[in-house]
């Protein structure tokens, strides 16, 4: 009897104790957290990068991590955190701030609400938000770097429409999310402006990490007369390149070129995330840092569309691509000086 009740009650007591101590500690959480942070942040030499995707994508995340390395060279203590679960974003930011990190860099729009929640709690920590909407109203310790990816998407549309022989071009997105909808609409506008009879197919992989399906989608597109694809699918883009190798088609790629991308990638539409990040963080010791919005677009060389470095390995049409880039450069100038208006539509369809 006693043995049984003993074992039955122990977990209850344990649980109760745990619950109570948790309650008490949780109650004083905010105060003690901030006290610790204020002291550490004074050093001002630690920077943490938080991304919603894991490193190794050979794309934006790796690009940012490379930027982190530049900061390390500049004497910063760096830390990289891949926070793949959106519900952990806020707590991750809070933990970093409480640990005394002086600069927290986050990337992509997933972090808008967490930053809004956390940044005001830690006024001494600087936040740099790469690729985001500007906050209204601005938060004094948050800098947003707005990457205009629509413009290169528009240019990609121009390029694709110019290069396409079949008159059918494609867009492959990672997941169907608003920024990619916006890119698609810009791509479509650029293509239509160049060639009114152009036909545009689009599809979303459903994941930034499923190259297998990316390959199948691209293959289906190539089988449906598409001969140029703008791949905005992160890790899944590699599958698009593989399919293009098979089909002898062309890809405008969103990641860094590698030996595998030779032969089919005609241009890279991407962003200098890492450079921009390093540059902006380094304005802090320089004393020129400012909160609020900073634009990184075509004009600032934050985003770009440029011919592939390995363009010569493309079997057919390298010369045409080069020729097309004259048009692209022309349009680029017009975009920068406002003569061409790039649409911004984050709705589906």
């Amino acid at each position: 009897m006693s043995l049984r009740t003993g074992i039955r009650t122990t977990p209850r007591l344990l649980a109760l104790g745990a619950l109570l101590s948790g309650l008490v500690l949780a109650g004083c959480a905010s105060t003690s957290g901030q006290a610790g942070q204020a002291q550490d942040a004074a050093d001002g030499k630690t920077v943490a990068l938080v991304t919603p995707q894991k490193a190794g994508d050979n794309g934006p995340t790796d690009n940012l991590v490379a930027g982190l390395d530049r900061l390390k060279e500049a004497g910063y203590t760096t830390r990289f955190v891949a926070a793949t679960d959106p519900s952990s974003h806020e707590s991750t930011l809070r933990s970093l701030a409480q640990a005394g990190t002086s600069v927290i860099v986050v990337s992509f729009s997933e972090f808008i609400q967490p930053i809004k929640a956390v940044a005001p709690e830690f006024p001494d920590t600087r936040f740099v938000h790469i690729y985001a909407d500007p906050y209204k109203p601005t938060i004094p310790n948050v800098q947003t770097v707005v990457f205009d990816t629509r413009a290169p998407s528009y240019l990609a549309g121009v390029l694709a429409a110019t290069v396409s022989k079949t008159g059918v071009i494609g867009f492959v997105g990672g997941t169907a999310i608003p920024p990619l909808y916006a890119d698609f609409h810009a791509f479509e506008a650029g293509a239509k402006a160049t060639r009114s009879d152009i036909s545009i197919k689009s599809a979303y992989v459903g994941s930034f990490g499923d190259p297998v399906k990316g390959q199948q989608i691209a293959q289906t597109m190539f089988n449906n007369k598409v001969d140029v694809i703008l791949a905005y699918a992160g890790g899944s883009s590699l599958g698009v390149v593989r399919a293009a190798d098979q089909a002898g088609a062309h890809v405008i790629y969103d990641n860094a070129e590698t030996p595998e991308t030779a032969g089919s990638v005609i241009a890279v539409a991407s962003q200098h995330y890492g450079d921009t990040m390093a540059r902006n963080v380094l304005t802090i010791p320089a004393g020129t840092w400012k909160a609020g919005e900073i634009v990184a677009g075509l004009a600032e060389d934050g985003t770009f569309l440029k011919p592939a470095a390995q363009l010569d390995s493309v079997k057919q049409g390298a010369a045409e691509v080069r020729a097309a880039f004259e048009t692209v450069e022309d349009v680029k100038t017009k975009i920068i000086n406002g003569a061409v208006d790039v649409p911004f539509n984050t709705e589906a369809g």
């Binding site: 977990p11 649980a15 957290g33 955190v81 891949a82 679960d85 729009s109 956390v118 500007p134 169907a176």
Partner: protein, 372 residues
């Protein structure tokens, strides 16, 4: 039940602890072997889970949804149904609750919040009843259907976040919905508040009461152990089945609603992707008992807090946690260790005597009831 848990209450209580401890050791061993500083990892883990008030907040923050879901999942398992769709049910509940919260954003919190939570509960239950009805009425395997419902819910959530409920602030680039009005939130971003702890306390008490103080709890257990006998007793297995699917879905839906009205404040595509599976593990570690579920949820909440904290202080990759969770699941239902040890001991004492004579259960045809 018996087969899962082995003999005796002592073994029942001790085994999960041993399994979890072994898995932890194994995982730490792997980390050490692959060159990560073991001391740093262990220290960081303790610091991030129970080392400070903030760490405790984190632990509770992750324990709360795990506890809420696992309580319901445990009830479903007790009735013998292997519903692995808690993830989808949580999303369904979160979507429902948020939709109500946003639609009535000008209403009084005292009315809107309960209404929204109730909607979340209802939607979670409905989401679970799809596999539930298919299982009890048609006999369609609930493992497959509830898994598929998870995949569907992930995509539905994504569509909600980029389509009908999309946040229109600024350029509308974030795949999130609008934030709920601050008055509606039942906790701040830390995810812990007296109200939420109160909800948890009520749920644990309700689960204890359901289990040991209601006829329903008794009938659920009987159906789980012998559905044929239950039918002969006048207990409708299929109705109990629907009920437990509904209950499991309801708690998962509530967890989703609580997440949205608590720490998140808005919906984000793909939030808490491992929560459903983790809750299954919590329920199993706890051997389906409500109070033990509380303890297990706290433990896994602490583990989650620790692993989210680890990258902040050292470079351990997140995948390490997934590996650890998997190993716990892999070992948790191991039940024959005492038998095997006893058998070996018996054999040793027997020495090389005549015929090796392991104790064997009678060879019997398994009674294959409705649960096949």
């Amino acid at each position: 039940m018996r087969r899962l848990l082995g003999d005796g209450r002592v073994a029942e209580a001790v085994r999960p602890i041993v399994v979890v401890a072994l898995s932890l050791l194994l995982a730490v061993g792997v980390f050490g072997l692959s060159g990560y500083p073991v001391a740093g990892i262990v220290g960081g883990a303790v610091e991030g889970s129970v080392g400070s008030a903030a760490a405790w907040t984190q632990t509770l923050r992750w324990a709360i949804p795990l506890l809420i879901i696992a309580l319901g999942v445990g009830i479903t398992f007790q009735a013998g149904y292997f519903n692995v769709g808690a993830q989808g049910q949580m999303y369904a509940g979160a979507i429902g609750a948020l939709a109500v919260g946003l639609a009535l954003r000008d209403g009084p919190a005292i009315v809107v919040v309960p209404l929204a939570l109730a909607t979340g509960v209802a939607l979670g239950a409905l989401w679970a009843l799809v596999p539930g009805v298919l299982r009890t009425r048609l006999g369609a395997d609930e493992v497959v259907t509830s898994l598929m419902m998870n995949f569907i819910a992930v995509l539905l959530l994504e569509w909600i976040c980029v389509g009908p409920l999309k946040n229109q602030d600024g350029s509308g680039q974030a795949a999130t919905t609008d934030m709920l009005p601050a008055a509606f939130r039942i906790s701040d971003g830390s995810g812990v508040s007296p109200l939420m702890l109160g909800i948890c306390a009520v749920l644990v008490i309700a689960a204890v009461a359901l289990r040991s103080r209601t006829r329903m709890g008794l009938e659920i257990r009987i159906v789980g152990r012998n559905p044929v006998m239950a039918e002969w007793m006048g207990i409708r297995s299929s109705r109990v089945g629907l009920l437990v699917f509904g209950l499991g879905g309801a708690t998962a839906g509530l967890a989703g609603a609580v997440e949205v009205f608590g720490p998140l404040g808005s919906l984000r595509a793909g939030f808490s992707p491992q929560m459903g599976f983790m809750a299954v593990i919590v329920a199993l570690v706890a051997a389906l008992g409500p109070v033990r579920t509380l303890v297990a949820a706290l433990f896994f909440g602490a583990l989650r807090a620790a692993t989210l904290y680890l990258p902040v202080v050292n470079d351990l990759p997140l995948a390490g946690l997934d590996m650890l969770n998997g190993m716990v699941a892999l070992w948790i239902t191991v039940s024959a260790v005492p038998v095997i040890l006893a058998r070996r001991a018996a054999r040793r004492t027997q020495g090389a005597a005549t015929v090796a004579a392991p104790v064997e259960k009678p060879v019997e045809k398994e009674a294959v009831g409705e649960h096949g």
